[in-house]
Symmetry: none
Subunit: 248 residues, 3 copies
């Protein structure tokens, strides 16, 4: 049953991103000029995420077919474990492109001048890149038999967390410095978006750690799908609400 439910979530997530993309695209003229770039980023992020989930569900579909041919539960577990690695690769590809765009979108909400945002943006993007890169290396810490090597994986995870914390700190400092200047709606949106980086971005490191334990990896797929929807489509909706003409 679990594999079926996971497949269900993967496809639903694909649909939801397709929907978000089309919606953001079609409403780009309803958004005030200052926030148009951010709104288009929502469309871009959703399109990439939609394609990523489309590839993932295709992969998972093949997995399901193969699962059906394996009689022994042991073989099935091994297959799920190996395919987990493969699917995770797709996630990192997605993250490599979409997380920087998400951060840019958040900073844009504060309408800073080019000079003000140059430094914090550079820090954010470098820290984010560092986080994804070292996390990706950590995921590759597999022994010959495709077993996770717990020690190295956790060490790389800790290294990656340094980048993550730096992202959080930079967003917080921006909030302290500039939040007072913008409209209440924009302040609300920035806060909500920045908070997701503490809360729902936190789902990914937790999933990373959980792979070390002996749990059904499908739970992680489901949790990541939901977190992705919140972090990309949800945040996009928040930005949209803060950027429509009615509200300003």
């Amino acid at each position: 049953l679990m594999p079926m439910v996971t497949y269900f979530f993967l496809i639903v997530t694909t649909y939801a991103f397709l929907g978000t993309f089309l919606f953001a695209w079609a409403t780009r003229d309803q958004v005030v000029a200052e926030h148009r770039t951010a709104h288009i980023l929502t469309a871009v992020i959703s399109a990439i995420a939609g394609l990523s989930y489309f590839l993932i569900q295709g992969y998972y579909h093949d997995l399901l077919v193969e699962l059906g041919t394996l009689p022994s539960p042991d073989d099935r577990r091994t297959l799920i474990r190996e395919s987990y690695s493969a699917i995770n690769q797709y996630r990192y590809m997605d993250w490599a492109v979409t997380t920087p765009l998400l951060l840019v979108k958040m900073v844009l909400m504060l309408r800073l001048s080019w000079r003000e945002q140059k430094r914090p943006l550079t820090i954010l993007l470098l820290a984010d890149f560092f986080m994804i890169l070292t996390g990706f290396i950590g995921e590759q810490q597999l022994s010959f038999g495709n077993e996770i090597q717990v020690g190295p994986k956790l060490i790389w995870g800790a290294v990656s967390t340094v980048g993550y914390v730096l992202v959080l700190l930079t967003l917080y400092r921006l909030w302290q410095q500039f939040a007072g200047r913008v409209q209440p709606r924009e302040r609300w949106a920035y806060r909500l978006m920045a908070l997701t980086t503490v809360t729902f971005w936190g789902v990914y490191p937790i999933g990373y750690i959980l792979t070390v334990f002996d749990i059904d990896l499908n739970w992680i797929h489901i949790a990541f799908s939901v977190a992705d929807l919140i972090n990309k489509a949800g945040v996009g909706l928040v930005a949209y609400v803060a950027s429509t003409g009615e509200l300003k």
Copy 2:
């Protein structure tokens, strides 16, 4: 023959949704500003439904190929029965995303203020989610040999119906409260759209019950395809007609 006709319907439905999507997309500037969001929802819903039918017809195509290799009518029936389950999964994935959007679209037709619509919208979306979720659980009540377990399936169906009835009641209460305030065209559109939830949405629970009997499941595929077209493309057309500039 029946499988061929079913395949025919699946592909025609795919095309029809593609057409609806493109039409709604291209006409988005012809719609008065107040109803633009609803109109874009039609495009989004059609795109998702189109993709969903595209996946379904692909699945069905593989089924047809396999059917051709099975000489015994008994094997063929088993294959159709099992594939019915699989295709149904795709339908639920679609419903999980599109039914809430359909309900939002109906409510938008009444042009309520944010405060007025917050509560009924929340109820609608929760009831709808409950309906789809419990219905989905009901579909999974299969015995080891992939036979439907009639008792549990019907009980879950009854539970699901509670959500369905709540949706109908909420839409009816909205009609009583607010229909008087909007333009005649909008009243007409809301009524028609809300009525489909009683009539053509009813096709799905009937199909759900019929699976328990020994009928050719292809009939259900065909009925669902037609109902989907009415509930998504048809309703989209009604909303379009009520929202064009000429009419207001």
Copy 3:
């Protein structure tokens, strides 16, 4: 590991081009009228490159699956070497269309009159075509056993370089003649774009020469992916910044 990382880069590049395409497309009204054509060229170039990388990653995916079935390292190397040729074909198809568009885009930045740009443009396009064509012929210099024939390959490479140098010279002459006339922002953008033809276009001939040596060809895939992103998406961004209303 290397094949996995290469696959990673191919997909990320696909996503990035999809993103660039959508972004350029959606922002086409934010660009001053004089530079709109150039901006749309960015969208066109990104769309073509995105499709090209989508095909390449699909090919590479099949390659990875096949690699998994080959136990001997020797067989694996042969497979990678042969597939390198095939993937390279996709790259030349892309270059045949996108490099002339890139050159046109650069020239457009100088806002020359039709008479002024006719001659240099003709030279640029012919030299570029000559470069790609002879380079393509060079890549086909394979012996019966699919081994690269070093001598002929390098001779054709040298011939191709004639075209390349002619492109560089023409761009330089244009800079000397006309750069003084345009706005500082445009001068900056033209210079940056023309410089990439010396620097990051240079990655391709280097990769061409490296195939002659016994290195892991995946490095070349990765280098080409990064260079493509800089030469197409990066240059597109530079042109965008120089063409937005705020800056002029």
